[in-house]
Symmetry: C2
């Protein structure tokens, strides 16, 4: 039985020591559900390996705290261990320290200033189609109603607001095959891709300030492929480009921009996810920022805050983990930050 009222550092270690690689969160979800059901001020629902606990106090506003239960595969880094001022192990940063803060607050704030919703979900580290939060949006949209969502993803104790969108496009450059001994009879598609790469080199990415958060866009080739055989002038070269765009652009705007940049070439969008505005002007968000006393910065990577933004719910990332250590064999978390985050969130929610 998990002791949610214990020191959040100890609770982090307890969560880390229950393996929960994506797809095998059932045991940890059961432990979390059992511990939450033991709390009389919360009503608890479960869907698959996602657990949602809510207060029903009739407060004017509702704040949702969310964290995923799954981790990337173990890399010889379990069980957890303390080393100086850090706790080491798979999931310490991403994001069982955040889950521990969340669960500790769930247990120890029976009379908060807002109604609270605690969401712990499965399969965040794998493809979007399996994402537990995605499933809740589809099947239990009402469980997620809130005026602000705080994701306890690793941010090193920073408040990271909104997130950038991401879009991948395939730029196709055609040619005409020929034997390379008589190359002048063909048109070399790889040579013809030179101006596509030159366009990427020349591209000047925007810095966009929204609500005081500066989003820095980027346009990068992430793959290039071409070639038929060692003696053939190739008739096709493809360049896959990833556009990370500030949340003042919609996906449609982003697509149009990429098409303008690669005007004259065939451009096909292969996947896309919208950004999320920082939403810092929403009263609940403003109140949160004031309470934690940390200046928000832009989130560059894509996170589940975008799902909340699509539901019209302002969302922030704020957690004790270190994003640079996420998914590494040496994953660890600074134990002091677990306490700091807990205290700052408590000050806001109490």
């Amino acid at each position: 039985m998990l002791d949610l009222a214990a020191d959040p550092v100890d609770l982090t270690a307890a969560l880390v020591d229950v393996e929960s690689v994506s797809g095998s969160e059932a045991h940890l979800a059961a432990l979390v559900e059992q511990a939450l059901r033991a709390l009389p001020h919360l009503s608890v629902d479960r869907d698959g390996d996602a657990v949602v606990a809510r207060t029903r106090l009739g407060r004017e506003r509702r704040v949702l705290l969310a964290g995923h239960l799954d981790t990337v595969p173990i890399a010889d880094n379990l069980p957890s261990r303390r080393e100086g001022d850090r706790l080491l192990g798979c999931g310490t940063s991403d994001m069982k320290s955040g889950d521990a803060v969340l669960l500790h607050l769930a247990a120890t704030l029976p009379d908060p200033a807002y109604d609270l919703t605690f969401v712990l979900y499965d399969n965040e580290e794998v493809e979007a189609a399996r994402n537990g939060l995605n499933r809740l949006v589809r099947d239990h949209r009402d469980w997620l109603d809130a005026d602000l969502a705080v994701l306890l993803e690793p941010t090193n104790g920073q408040v990271e607001a909104g997130c950038q969108g991401t879009m991948r496009v395939r730029v196709t450059v055609p040619g005409r095959r020929a034997h390379s001994a008589r190359g002048w009879l063909g048109e070399n598609a790889i040579h013809a891709a030179a101006p596509v790469l030159a366009t990427l080199v020349r591209y000047e990415a925007r810095d966009v300030d929204i609500d005081g958060c500066v989003y820095r866009e980027g346009l990068n080739a992430v793959a290039v492929a071409g070639g038929v055989a060692g003696n053939v002038v190739p008739d096709l070269c493809t360049v896959t480009v990833n556009f990370r765009f500030a949340p003042d652009r919609s996906e449609a705007d982003a697509e149009q921009h990429v098409r303008d940049v690669f005007d004259g070439w065939a451009v096909e969008v292969t996947d896309s996810a919208p950004g999320a505005l920082p939403g810092l002007t929403a009263p609940a968000a403003r109140h949160f920022v004031d309470a934690v006393g940390v200046t928000p910065v832009a989130k560059y990577g894509w996170t589940d805050v975008a799902r909340f933004a699509q539901l019209g719910i302002p969302a922030l990332n704020f957690g004790p983990g270190d994003p640079n250590l996420a998914h590494t064999r040496e994953e660890s978390v600074e134990t002091a930050l677990i306490g700091t985050c807990t205290d700052l969130l408590r000050r806001y929610l109490a």
Copy 2:
């Protein structure tokens, strides 16, 4: 039993109708050996599926005629069939029509002006290590002694002299990985390849006149590859380049030239084959050209003439097949050209 004295068009059809995809030439080689051994003016040797037949008349000069017995895989194009003025089927152009001319001359020229060597060999259409002529050079160099070699490869009845060399190099462009959401922390290797491609676009290939044959060089990317994952700035991009070079350059010269062109990038030679000078100033070659009355042109593709050139034997390509139809499902040969080539060679050799 093959009838070598028959019309070379009929002999072509007979050879085509014996399947001999590379590696399975044994049956055809046995038929050829049997037919040649029946000719009292020839002494015959066999090594694997290569057959060599020679006159021993004590003439001042010796001329070697060569053809490979193997074909690319059948493509629903056997048995052969006549259609108007063409014979259709796998190997009609490349190069059983040439083999038929060669075998017909072997049977019908008992008293030639030169000593003659007839070479029919295996595995020309596959990797060099399996090439039957390569094996003869290694194990029976003396069987190949000659003052001139004529390969009856498809040339549409043209005389094609010498051949260009070919070299493949891999140009490696490094970078530094980063998450594509924070691309500015890395260095994109694909972007860094832009000047490599621009260099290829700008490259001005030489036209080189040797003995009246114009060799047209070419530098072509034949492959490009790069990319780690859809969200990673890649740290490596490779461009594979094929240099077709005129036979006035040695392989060492060609390599130095490519290194000069891609100065500043890592260049690795992955494979290489030397060219062959046209050798038209050699008396036997000059006599051949005068006799057939066709102005020689440069051979762009690499053929086994280069092996003879390495042995110091001038070599030419001259055959009835159409090189543009070689290796195609629609492979065919113009029947009139089979007769023309036979007559021109007979005029030279008689």
